[in-house]
Symmetry: C2
């Protein structure tokens, strides 16, 4: 097993390099279970978010969930919005997109987002496809995306989002 040494928000992590298809390997970054890394990233992001005029944090399940919980706590937000990958039993009038990846917004969250200024948060941005779907859903909900925050940017792709985009570290892609 090969590893990539990541330095992020004052912490070091040894990330396993795993295959992602026949011609590509990535350094695998996982916030689920890493209390310390979640807290370190949340501290950094919260500093920047304190100077941002916005109402609600939004992100796609699963790996960014602990980070958004911690950010909401630090920023004293009572509520945040998590987009699910499929329709769940607890949902009421869910709204989904026909794009890939599929993401679903619960009806009450859809109503809640209307007219609100949102900041989208994710752990890693790579192709940007997930981010596009999140933006689309927020647009459908008549919410304005005022900024996009990711912990890491993977690869060299440049993005041209209409909102300011911030990332706090980078990950290489390994071509075979």
């Amino acid at each position: 097993m090969n590893y990539y040494q990541l330095k992020l928000c004052g912490l070091k992590r040894k990330l396993p390099i795993v295959p992602l298809g026949p011609k590509l390997k990535i350094a695998s970054f996982n916030l689920l279970g890493d209390t310390q890394m979640v807290q370190a990233i949340a501290q950094k992001m919260a500093q920047k978010l304190k100077r941002t005029d916005f109402d609600v944090l939004v992100g796609p399940e699963v790996k960014v969930v602990p980070l958004i919980q911690e950010l909401s706590r630090l920023l004293k937000h009572k509520r945040y919005v998590i987009l699910r990958k499929s329709i769940k039993g607890y949902m009421i009038k869910p709204i989904s997109t026909d794009s890939k990846p599929s993401l679903v917004l619960n009806g009450p969250d859809f109503e809640y987002l209307k007219g609100k200024k949102a900041v989208i948060v994710d752990d890693v941005i790579s192709t940007g496809r997930t981010m596009e779907v999140v933006c689309k859903l927020l647009n459908t909900a008549q919410s304005k995306t005022v900024a996009i925050f990711t912990a890491l940017k993977q690869g060299d792709r440049e993005f041209s989002f209409t909102s300011p985009f911030y990332f706090f570290g980078q990950l290489p892609l390994f071509k075979r």
Copy 2:
């Protein structure tokens, strides 16, 4: 839409009553997005956990993730373990059970749990099937389950776990 009024850890929530099959309805409880409820439950659980001799918090994805992150922060644990519902690209030598629901433990977490005293945390216990699978996986990893904590118990079922079981509120089942 009918609602159920929940009082839990000093907070009130209006839970939508949703169908779960042709003969059953449940009050739908969702921690994902509820910063305030996550913090309130974590405070209560942390008080009890401070008197429990254990090493690591373990839980199944997704809805309990923010609660376990917050508990780990309060208890100053650097790491916790989330069981996934399927094998993910980032995993190394994942271990899964053939039971339903299917749950998967990442290889490094499997190694980490060996010989450790675990507390299992979940948001709601209903049939107890998920809990059984979690216990089984921890057993396979040679980890000792010292306690089971859930925010809510749904329905009247009595459980006979070999470890002490604590819940902090109850939800009815609605038969049609």
